[in-house]
């Protein structure tokens, strides 16, 4: 009997589930019963964090700072002075870019004073007319990637201008144009450091793991504490959020450079710096560029969330539109965000891939033809704007800036559509919604909440033990223990419930769709392209259409999560199935298997590791989206994180809550990854 149990994993699982159910039935739900709920020993932890941070910001290491206003030295805390100077520098750069686009006085103020500006009326940056910016972007697109890119970039900006989103878009753009390069630079430097030093890599690794699953909101609160609120705080939060993937991909890419290429560089007489800049980084370009792409996407994804701590631009407008249920407007703003993301991504990609022609012996005019073109566009645009100032009398100069909400809008159409759907399908939709909530969601949620903590631990740690042995079990147990000892175990259960529901549905859909598409090379390619495109959308965008249909309910959140989380499931399925070697297919065909046999006995087992990693990604995506769902109302951890944002003492709470979410993800990650690696090793598939 014991022998059998040791050999058959599924028997172990069965036994585990029996024990789990027994524990659920037998442990009474009484206050003070440790098997039911652990005492919240960590309840004081948030306060402790808050107090230490306050101490750090207010009283630690006072230094003398010269204050020109009162002409005297003053005692100020070091940390605050540092964060304040960082904030000022970041803000200055954002304002500079912003005022080049939109005009303003803050840049001049930075060099002089407010008095100077109010005394001198001319002291103001005029801001470029939208025609000039659009033309400039198109020329840049042409210069880097030819006519197609020029058209795409130009038309995107025309859309932004014509739909009256110019001002918020430029605010967002100025903020992204500072945040993204800084995140890329910091990520690159950290990645290189991690590549060069094993110690640094070992320190970075767990931090990156946590950072990847930490919900966006959790970053906001510490940033607010250290940098207060405003555009710079938004930028700092964005940089912190966007840097980890860059670090990871830089390290990965550098590690993948073949040793012989490095040696070739050394033998060519490269110094360390030349080797890094001219051999290693360019050779690792593929992965580093994926990192750059990730950074840009993360930045745009953070646009909405950063607006919660004062970043101006499209994000806050989108949030307001969503809260007012103005679906059409939200859609238009969402498209602006997506377009900016795509234009920046494609431009950066084209820039990195641009070839040089050494044989073209060009004249000055040819070499600088794009700059000259821009000069032309600049002159024409400014002239047009100048003429426009006479033409449009009512105070709006459409040739300079199309004012906010004075452009074309398709909102009535969408509103009409939403109303129409509402009118036609209100009854069935509402019925479905009600049925789904009452019959499916609520009972599952109740079941989750009725789990004694001991049973949850047994299930999770038992699974980890069966999959990965005692080490995995202890790691998973550690993550769970942290959550169980905070006072938010129940909230975490709700997050877990939404997440598991979403992962089950998304996983099922993704695997089925992926499997179907993987049958043909055309459909696989199509699906992968779709996945790429959908992934570029900031996660927030997914909430818009579902809210159109289901209003502000758990159903909306769940559907948005499912849609978002299906992407990685489908992608990994296709990649996994397609990675089965052709020789194996041939061998199977020659053994006379039919299609279904081949799928079940060869393709599926061979792609198990990929599938496991796909589900792992699905979990990460789902968690991120569940937490964002808090913006339209759920009662899980995300909601609490959002709540702690407006709490003056919320820094500890927010951080701990963020860790709770991250640890749920990491616990699942631990199990799935261990399993995938074991399968990989068993099948002899290299990483």
């Amino acid at each position: 009997m014991m022998e059998l149990l040791r050999e058959r994993k599924y028997l172990q699982f069965l036994l585990l589930i029996v024990i789990f159910i027994l524990m659920c039935k037998l442990i009474p739900a009484t206050e003070g019963n440790w098997l039911w709920r652990l005492p919240s020993l960590l309840a004081q932890f948030p306060t402790f964090i808050y107090e230490s941070v306050t101490f750090l910001m207010e009283d630690w290491w006072l230094i003398d700072v010269y204050d020109p206003d009162i002409n005297e030295y003053e005692q100020k805390p070091l940390v605050r002075e540092i964060t304040r100077s960082i904030a000022a520098a970041v803000l200055f750069m954002i304002e500079l870019v912003r005022e080049i686009m939109l005009g303003g006085v803050k840049t001049i103020v930075a060099f002089t004073s407010w008095d100077y500006v109010s005394d001198n009326e001319w002291a103001e940056l005029p801001g470029l007319p939208w025609t000039v910016v659009t033309g400039g972007v198109a020329i840049l697109g042409y210069h880097l990637g030819g006519i197609k890119l020029a058209l795409f970039a130009g038309l995107s900006f025309v859309y932004i201008a014509v739909f009256g989103q110019w001002e918020p878009s430029m605010q967002t753009l100025s903020f992204v144009l500072i945040a993204a390069p800084m995140a890329i630079l910091i990520g690159l430097l950290l990645g290189i450091w991690g590549y060069k030093s094993k110690t640094v890599a070992n320190i970075l690794d767990p931090i990156l793991n946590v950072a990847q699953i930490m919900p966006h909101f959790a970053y906001l609160i510490p940033v607010v504490v250290f940098f207060s609120i405003g555009d710079h705080a938004g930028a700092v939060a964005t940089i912190i959020y966007a840097t980890p993937p860059m670090v990871r991909l830089t390290m990965l890419g550098l590690k993948k450079v073949p040793p012989e290429v490095t040696e070739a560089g050394r033998m060519s007489g490269c110094t360390d710096w030349q080797l890094m800049r001219r051999v290693l980084i360019p050779t690792a370009r593929r992965d580093i560029l994926i990192g750059v792409n990730q950074v840009i996407m993360q930045c745009l994804a953070m646009v909405v969330i950063a607006s919660l701590i004062g970043a101006k631009g499209l994000g806050s407008n989108l949030l307001i539109a969503l809260n007012g249920l103005r679906i059409g407007l939200a859609l238009e703003i969402g498209v602006c965000i997506v377009l900016i993301a795509l234009v920046l991504d494609k431009l950066s990609l084209a820039w990195a891939n641009k070839p040089t022609d050494y044989f073209a012996d060009q004249s000055f005019k040819q070499r600088h033809k794009h700059s000259l073109w821009f000069l032309g566009v600049f002159v024409v645009g400014v002239l047009l704007a100048w003429i426009g100032s006479f033409q449009f009398k009512e105070g709006f100069n459409y040739l300079n800036v199309i004012p906010h909400n004075k452009g074309i809008t398709t909102e009535p159409f969408w509103q009409w559509g939403v109303d129409k759907i509402w009118d036609t399908f209100f009854y069935p939709l509402n019925e479905f919604n009600k049925w789904f909530i009452v019959e499916v969601l609520a009972p599952v949620k109740k079941a989750y909440l009725a789990m004694p903590v001991a049973a949850t631990f047994t299930l999770a740690m038992g699974t980890a033990f069966i999959v990965g042995g005692i080490r995995s079990a202890l790691i998973v147990g550690g993550y769970l223990l942290f959550i169980a000892l905070t006072e938010w175990w129940d909230r975490a259960l709700i997050t877990a419930y939404l997440m598991t529901m979403a992962v089950l549905i998304a996983g099922a859909i993704g695997i089925v769709v992926g499997t179907l598409c993987a049958q043909h090379s055309t459909t696989s390619r199509m699906l992968l392209t779709w996945c790429d495109t959908l992934q570029t959308f900031p996660s927030f965008i997914y909430l818009i259409p579902v809210m159109m249909l289901f209003g502000v309910t758990d159903t909306s959140v769940l559907i948005a999560v499912v849609v978002y989380a299906t992407i990685p499931a489908a992608r990994y399925t296709v990649v996994g199935l397609n990675s089965v070697p052709a020789s194996l297919h041939d061998a199977a065909t020659m053994s006379g298997v039919n299609r279904i046999q081949r799928f079940l006995s060869i393709e599926l087992p061979m792609s198990f590791p990929h599938l496991a990693l796909g589900i792992n990604q699905t979990v990460v995506f789902a968690l991120a989206m569940v937490v964002i769902g808090a913006l339209i109302g759920t009662d899980d951890l995300g909601q609490l994180i959002l709540g702690s944002l407006s709490d003056r003492e919320g820094v500890g709470t927010g951080l701990i809550l963020g860790f709770c979410v991250a640890f749920i993800g990491l616990a699942i990650d631990q199990i799935l990854r261990t399993w995938a690696n074991q399968r990989k090793a068993a099948l002899g598939i290299p990483d």
Partner: protein, 366 residues
């Protein structure tokens, strides 16, 4: 080829008891063993011996081939000499300078001016075109773009790749990629040329073609060459001298003819068994001394001609053929009978074939 001219001068490369031991405890183990490396003991201390007491010299214009199977330490030895890896013990002199104690700056200077290397996997920079790849060592050195591009263009002509300047490595065949690798390694006009299994990743036909190309280029440039290969035929075909390595130890270092005729160890003998003698040996190794009164055929053959190339002439003549050295003096005579016995008689290959045949017949009989 040029060995005789430079014996008096300082060798270009000189290795003195070079050791390379991999592993954390390498230095300590090396110190403790006192120069006698016991691989078993080293393995117990988590150390792997890559190169074990290598000492040899390479002279100006000489082509030394390091031959060995995978894991024999041949590439490791090459990397110690180019100092891509630091040797654990011993001294390596490049033109009299000890490279093992060189600082980083000196090393870079040496590589920029004196060394070129070709790699098995080509190791081209994927983001640079053919032209940029070849110009790379020059640009790294700080030569102006214009000058380096001009020089790279000359290199492209040398390796016959004209018209493909702006191709990317991924757009080239393996043979073409290795031509780029060769051109890059020669761009700075190095004195010493390292080649690490340069043709191993190529198809047999292309490999032959590239070997010819290599001989042609070497004929023009006559560099001092250290060439690593696992292919014994390639070594015989190209080398002035061959060093055969096994488990980090140089088993034998000699000219191809001497290795084939007098293998020093059982291991070397195994390689040489299958080698057709006539392809390796020169006429001088089969000639007889001239006896007064001998009459010769009208034609004569050169003493350093490979037997295969002149066999037909010798076999077709009725009388013995005279052998002349470089300055035209008669130094010996070849008899057709001697060649016949070398070509067709008592050859281990034939003996083996006969044995196999006999075995088969007896199998069938029973």
């Amino acid at each position: 080829m040029a060995t005789e001219t430079s014996i008096a001068s300082e060798p270009v490369i000189r290795c003195e008891s070079v050791y390379k031991v991999f592993g954390k405890n390498a230095k300590r183990m090396m110190k403790e063993c006192g120069g006698v490396v016991d691989p078993v003991k080293f393995r117990e201390a988590d150390c792997i011996v890559g190169v074990d007491n290598a000492s040899f010299e390479v002279h100006q214009g000489e082509l030394l081939i390091i031959m060995g199977l995978s894991g024999s330490g041949k590439s490791t030895l090459l990397r110690c000499i180019s100092r891509l890896t630091q040797s654990t013990a011993g001294k390596i002199f490049i033109e009299g300078q000890d490279i093992t104690s060189m600082g980083n700056r000196q090393l870079i200077k040496l590589r920029r001016n004196k060394m070129g290397m070709v790699f098995q996997s080509f190791a081209l920079l994927p983001h640079k075109t053919v032209l940029e790849n070849i110009a790379f060592p020059l640009q790294v050195k700080g030569i102006s773009t214009k000058e380096s591009i001009k020089r790279a263009q000359e290199m492209i002509d040398l390796v016959s790749l004209s018209g493909r300047e702006n191709y990317f490595p991924r757009e080239l065949s393996g043979g073409q990629q290795q031509r780029v690798g060769i051109a890059r390694s020669l761009a700075i006009e190095p004195d010493i040329w390292f080649l690490d299994e340069p043709f191993s990743a190529l198809d047999p036909l292309i490999r032959k073609e590239m070997q010819d190309e290599f001989l042609r280029i070497q004929g023009v440039l006559s560099k001092t060459i250290l060439f690593v290969t696992h292919d014994f035929d390639e070594a015989l075909r190209l080398a002035d001298r061959i060093a055969i390595m096994k488990d980090g130890i140089i088993e034998q270092l000699d000219t191809p003819a001497n290795i084939v005729l007098n293998p020093a160890t059982e291991y070397v003998r195994k390689f040489t068994e299958e080698v057709p003698r006539e392809k390796v040996l020169k006429i001088e190794s089969v000639m007889d001394p001239v006896n007064p009164g001998d009459t010769f055929d009208d034609i004569s053959v050169s003493s350093d001609a490979v037997i295969e190339t002149v066999a037909e002439v010798v076999l077709n003549s009725r009388k013995p053929v005279s052998v002349v050295n470089g300055s035209g003096e008669v130094v010996g005579a070849v008899h057709a009978s001697k060649l016949v016995s070398l070509l067709f008689g008592g050859h281990s290959k034939e003996t083996l074939a006969q044995e196999a045949l006999a075995q088969k017949t007896s199998d069938r009989a029973s």
